[in-house]
Point group: C2
Chain length 201, copies 2
DNA sequence: GTCCCGATATATAGATTCGATATATCGAAC
DNA sequence: GTTCGATATATCGAATCTATATATCGGGAC
């Protein structure tokens, strides 16, 4: 998971640990607080596996900065983690991290992940409804309130996903015939500048 | 964290591990998936510390059920963890777990925790707004969409908290003079049946 | 100019938690 | 009578978290 996030950020540009930490906090900080105790070991792991390499190492005398760059192998690992890792790809962090790197995926894969996430949340929503129904009279108001709030949040997430899926499908749909669509100009902007095929995972 | 949740559930009634797992999944499952790999070690830790004890141990021949009961020491530990642990009490899981056991807290403590949580989310919200403002033009639409969605979710959480705080304050307020409030009957039910002082932490 | 502080930067130890897996029993369905 | 899903406990190794230590850098106070 952390590996995936690190590689994704290093894909944009080489950085050292401290910068990575900041970028992680900014992009994913509201659902995942990455600590140095996770980050540095993860970087060493990736280095050991040959997925990242250090540039400007100890040389450059006084500079104690370890700048990491993603390697070819790292790119491959990134693709594997981002796409095929289907198990946890619907769980909270798993999905959000992948979503942050959606632009590297093909439209079909994006839709597949969005729909898997939707199913996951739908299941959670049903579970919550079932628990609420069976607890209603047995537990205190705070627990009920918490569960209701979480149910509402989950339903809101699902609506967000539905919108995203609709947008993706509109984009994936065969280009509209030129005739007949003179006025129509899709209201919804594509969420990413089209990448060339080879840039995608 | 897990300790707190376990003790809180065992306070209601003695259970064995499997039942604990199920109750944890039902009540807190939408933001925290507790695994056996965490649960059983935690139970043993608590047992070692004398916070829980096993009833019906290995005896009772064929029965391989270890029923755990909270001890006096466990009750004390629960109170400590629930209240004074102020550091992480505003973070996501820390708050939600505590909230699920709010009925054991005094109204003042409840308001204090709610307000600390609110401040925490307010900070998160500002961070997100700042990041959004500075990224808007530099990152892809998916990341922006994710951050916007998280911002909206955070703001929704804050509104929920505000409502809870209002309810608590209304309850904590001095009982309204009987005269003048003949019609008025608070629309908002108290979220918990009043507990006697000694039942509270 | 130098002292101090907050931001930058890396690192590790120890505890906790996660993910996967193994094992065994029970009751019900077939 | 056996297969299957739910009940139930347990552990290993890896990943992650919390807390802490250390050092440098640039800027403002004095």
């Amino acid at each position: 998971m952390l590996e995936l996030a690190i590689l994704g950020l290093l894909k944009e540009r080489s950085m050292h640990g401290y910068q990575l930490k900041k970028r992680l906090a900014e992009t994913l900080g509201s659902f995942w607080q990455v600590s140095y105790g996770s980050l540095y070991p993860a970087l060493r792991r990736l280095q050991r596996e040959g997925a990242v390499e250090m540039i400007f190492p100890k040389e450059d005398v006084g500079r104690r900065k370890n700048v990491y760059r993603i390697t070819e192998q790292g790119e491959a690992l990134f693709r594997d983690l981002l796409d095929s890792a289907g198990e946890d790809a619907a769980a909270d962090n798993g999905f959000s991290v992948r979503f942050a790197f959606f632009k590297y995926l093909k439209p079909e894969t994006r839709i597949r992940l969005l729909e898997r996430r939707r199913a996951f949340l739908q299941r959670r929503s049903s579970d919550l409804e079932r628990s609420l129904a069976s607890y209603r009279e047995r537990v205190d108001g705070y627990t009920i309130s918490l569960m209701n709030h979480q149910l509402a949040a989950t339903e809101n997430d699902i609506r967000w996903l539905d919108e995203l899926i609709r947008t993706e499908e509109r984009q994936a749909a065969p280009a509209p015939r030129r005739r007949r669509t003179r006025i129509a100009r899709s209201v919804t902007e594509p969420l990413t500048d089209p990448l060339s095929e080879k840039e995608r995972a």
